[in-house]
Symmetry: C2
Subunit: 121 residues, 2 copies
Amino acid sequence: MRLESDLMRGAGPVAVLKLLERGEMYGYELADALERRSQGVLAMGQSTLYPLLYNLEAKGYIEAEWRVADSGRRRKYYRLTPKGRKRLATDTDAWKRLAGAMSALGVLGPADARASLGVAP
Amino acid sequence: MRLESDLMRGAGPVAVLKLLERGEMYGYELADALERRSQGVLAMGQSTLYPLLYNLEAKGYIEAEWRVADSGRRRKYYRLTPKGRKRLATDTDAWKRLAGAMSALGVLGPADARASLGVAP
DNA sequence: GCGTATACCTTGTCAGACATAGTATGTCAG
DNA sequence: CTGACATACTATGTCTGACAAGGTATACGC
């Protein structure tokens, strides 16, 4: 993907779960949202996104439903399951700690560390 | 690894390069430093660290030299090559943009976004 | 001497990122 | 009304990276 080589491995699932937190979305919409909302950083090809979705679904984090939109087009809508919501919380926490660790090493700025660890400046 | 499951994929090489930025270190020392300096978040087993080092060496980002320490123990010291220094700069930048993207989605706190993107609060 | 810490190496497995390719349908310019 | 283009999902196969498990070898404390 354009996902900054392999730096972002593991970021994909979290980003998808986070987007679905607000409400259901379909695959193509997710791809577009990831692209736009992250200025391309989290953009991923369809061959990355769809298998990722099937994987999350197989593990019970999201569930899908086929519907026909007003446009007449068939779309597969995905939404978070309670299990997925839990995983999102865990992953978000893990990401914050990872950002904190990278800050501690100097890879990210110190502000990241404070924000991630909830420490007052 | 303890590296927060696979969330941190890609973080390993950057962390190692960053540690080597200050000066040479040997494998065991790197493992220990990663563990301590990140409060365990970036800790990785030897079976992850050593292959990672061989990989970075094969790609010319680091170079190694066997030496005998005062303790009498043989150690393989690694140091950054100019190429590795360049890659560290690129990767650091990519990480900041990734952190910025995750912030934009709400996975990381907003302070991360400001710091990562260099935007005034 | 014998356990523990230090220090490095190897093999094999599995999951994830992706390129490539394919199917099918709605929209719109000409 | 037709062909190009955008939308939308699926399938296959390759490559890399994370890791568990299992070695080897040496220094040091007791």
